[in-house]
Amino acid sequence: MSEQDGNIDVIQASPTKRFFVDMLTRDIELNDAILDLLDNCVDGIQRTIHNTDKETTERPYEGYWAKITVSEDKFTIEDNCGGIPRDIAKNYAFRFGRPDDRTDGEIPTVGIYGIGMKRAIFKMGLSSTIESKHDDEECYKVNIKPEWLKNDEDWELRLLEPEANQENVGTKISISNLHDHIREKFKHAGEFNEQLSELVSTHYTYIIQNGFNVIIDEQIVTPQPLDVLASSFDDYENNQGILPFIYEGTKNGVQIRIVVGFLAQPPGESEVAEYTEAPRKKEQAGWTIIANDRVVLYKDRTRLTGWGTGTVPSYHPQFRDISGVVEFSCNDAEKLPINTTKRGLEAGDELYLYVKDFMCEGLKIFTQHTNIWKGYKEKEKEIFDSANAASIRSVTNNIKSELWVNPKKNPNEKKFIPKLPKPKSETVVSKWIRFSKKQSDIKKVSQYLFDNDDIEPSTVGEKCFDLILEDSKEDLE
């Protein structure tokens, strides 16, 4: 019996566009969707400069730019990053789903054509126009309209001739007919732009440093450097300085670099208490994970990056000046520990789990330092005074070759485990005592001990302990 018989009930199992649109956009934040678009720009540059002299220069992205403009009813991103080739546009870029395992082979991109673009478009609005010009090909234009999105019969789009020929070899995406919640955000364009600029300045720091210009609302975004404190090697050797923990290696074709250390002298007890009571939104501590120059996780302080796992303590304001960076680079994006939504870390990835052991090893050295120096803040300051911010990528050059160790007798790996100075004291073991009491009671004790009811609670507590300690000595001896 064939379908043509007409006497059977046909079940509709064909997809709806709505399903794809929902699937594509459900798990992504607006900001991430915009960063996806920038990723596409950078991938475009990578493809353009591949096998040219420019690829190996210090600033390979020099001369390339992307401009983002938002208003209450429109989002636009325009770039000069190579454009989408016509055949890619016809066969891949606008397709729902991934037609095959098309990847970039030898080019260190992070994206697979088009997912990011479609996702960003559908995240923001119902109408869009994509104009693109690749190489010396003719410029073309694609319009996506709300009617088309509603129509589940028509799965084709047209490449059209644009009214005016585009000057740049690049792409321009305009999204309008914005969703209400997006319109609401874009209404406060100033605030939104500021947020986005900050995000771009941290997440694209290396790419911007390498010459790429991101222009948001006509302002060029400046990169936020990724630094760590490093003393001079002489200071370090004289037990007067600090250096970060560093791991460098290649595993399964992926190059890995881990650097973790201090951003500043760790806070004293009263600062920690203040921070604990009123946590700040913007914290500099945590792990930043970078895949092919793009930040996929920024300043993370959760179990994902090892905090509170194994022997590493959970994040606490005492550690607010500890910061680390992990860089992965590989020409084959598939090997990177990033998940298919691109902007996230694949926490269960074998390579990442392997690397995480080293991250914890390094992190632990610095959490421990903050414990050891707790009672010696003045002395500790001397060590930090002579340390300067060094870029994550250049700090490696500070380390003498004989101080590297090879963790597993594997020639592709090496690490530097710093020996940080320790306070001179009879015993190096001390423990925190932390407790909370009624403020009125603290005032009473403060008055009783110091003739002043406004002494720092930690000082009051410490004094109480010292007094009892004296008593106990007399009694026990």
Binding site: L353, E361, I365, I372, K408, V428
Partner: protein, 324 residues
């Protein structure tokens, strides 16, 4: 409990365990080049294990970790060899700063029952950092009374509360299948071995290597202690390792993280010892009849002690008074 002031060198169980450690190292020496290893341990005021290891293998570099300044000074006074470096630090700190391209023998000789989680955490960090073919020995307090004494509670109820206490002490390091049946004097050390196994397995999971157990023992000079000796071996070499090192056919080995062997030997006078040794290793069965007395008021226990002596007589220490 801090071990810094105890007369370790006079303790029988510990002395035997230490001799067995030497035997293990000699067996491993067939495939590993022990004489080039660095020894890292908690030597205490007398650095007994350091003397012993250097005596047998001539290790060129030895590091003692000590956290008490006074014990450290005393240690320096007692240092029997110039190649021992005494460091004032904690095991936790030492491990996190440890950086070496050489192979090492670590003996984490823990005593305190209150810090089991911390101790296993340190083991975890160490296992992650170790090189292949590094050797680790861990000593843990395995005395059941440290989980609660039979004062208010008894029987099943006591077992439950001890298990609860152990679970809160070890948290995720304690395997889920440890139940109240393990809450006995012999079962508790086994529960700890399984926890050590879990820690080692988790820590080595992504390193491409595994931790192989070699031997595990308990002894009770005061509180019952558990010691486990292990080696970090590359995954591919694991199957061959026991064969290459003679561990395969050693009657005291532990290759599967099973219950430890208890070093429970009678205290013997010199006369008793010489008499027993003359009968060994073959005529043990007739000993009991000829002896004419028991080593314990319980006949069964007495036979067990004699059997244990047979197992361990080669490692049995002789303490005697010396006039200096």
């Amino acid at each position: 409990m801090s071990g810094g002031y105890l007369p370790y060198h006079l303790r029988q169980g510990k002395a035997i365990d230490r001799q067995i450690f030497i035997e293990i190292l000699s067996k491993l020496n067939k495939s590993l080049n022990i004489k080039h290893y660095t020894y890292i341990g908690l030597g205490g005021p007398f650095l007994e294990d350091f003397k012993l290891l250097h005596g047998h293998f001539g290790l060129p570099k030895m590091i003692s970790i000590e956290l008490d300044q006074h014990v450290l000074e005393r240690q320096k006074f007692n240092t029997p060899l110039s190649c021992i470096e005494c460091q004032l630090t904690t095991t936790e700190q030492f491990i996190s700063e440890y950086s070496s391209n050489d192979n090492a023998i670590f003996w984490l000789d823990y005593a305190s029952p209150r810090e089991r989680y911390q101790q296993l955490s340190e083991l975890y960090s160490l296992v992650q950092k170790l090189q292949n073919n590094d050797i680790i020995k861990v000593t843990l307090n395995a005395d059941l009374s440290t989980l609660g004494k039979p004062q208010k509670e008894r029987g099943e109820k006591l077992k439950n509360s001890r298990l609860h206490r152990l679970r809160s002490q070890l948290s995720d390091y304690l395997p889920n299948n440890i139940d109240i049946d393990y809450m006995t004097a012999r079962g508790f050390p086994e529960a700890l071995i399984k926890s050590v196994e879990r820690v080692c397995h988790k820590a080595a999971e992504y390193t491409g290597s595994a931790i192989l157990p070699i031997g595990a023992f308990t002894y009770k000079d005061g509180q019952r202690m558990l010691t486990i000796t292990m080696v970090k071996v590359e995954n591919e070499e694991c199957t061959e390792f026991y064969n290459q090192t003679d561990i395969e056919c050693w009657e005291l080995s532990n290759k599967d993280w099973s219950a430890p062997i208890d070093i429970d030997v009678p205290s013997l006078s010199i006369r008793e010892r010489l008499w027993l040794d003359k009968k060994l290793p073959t005529e043990i069965e007739t000993i009991e009849d000829e002896l004419g007395f028991q080593f314990d008021s319980d006949a069964e226990k007495s036979s067990e002690l004699i059997n244990n002596y047979k197992k361990f007589y080669r490692y049995y220490p002789q303490f005697s008074r010396v006039l200096v």
